[in-house]
Symmetry: C2
Subunit: 86 residues, 2 copies
């Protein structure tokens, strides 16, 4: 179970990092943010920032990297929602 | 730093759990899934399932709860995207 357990951790971390890459590319391409929830992306980015701060607290480089990459995509989407809603 | 560090962990966990609640409500209300990326929600839900399995592996009840709640909302959004795209 050890290796499989660790594997799930890595799959989970990679998914956390890249899950909103396709959404970012789609939103940049289509500029369609109508269906996206501003509040959800505010909470999502707040969560990622909190995970990064928690990662610093527990000295987890992996947590910093995975959530840092995720924050780049979440931040881009959040920026586009705010810009289009003005 | 101990209490503040733990606090970041709880804020992060709560954000993970509820971040896509507003998105879920908005998508149910508007039925507008045009701007939502199917692939992103597939990866997002895969990540949450992996975190749940990892939570079982490290015996973390909090990880199970936070990601389990998140998966409910992510799963509803994913279901609506798939249904509308048929």
């Amino acid at each position: 179970m050890n290796i499989i357990g660790e594997l799930f951790g890595y799959i989970a971390g990679i998914c956390t990092a890249i899950c909103f890459l396709p959404q970012t590319l789609q939103t940049i391409r289509t500029k369609n943010v109508d269906g996206l929830s501003l509040l959800s992306y505010i909470i999502y980015c707040t969560g990622l920032i909190s995970w990064i701060l928690y990662g610093l607290y527990i000295h987890s480089l992996q947590m910093l990297i995975f959530n840092g990459i995720g924050l780049v995509f979440g931040g881009i989407i959040l920026y586009m929602i705010i810009r289009r809603q003005k």
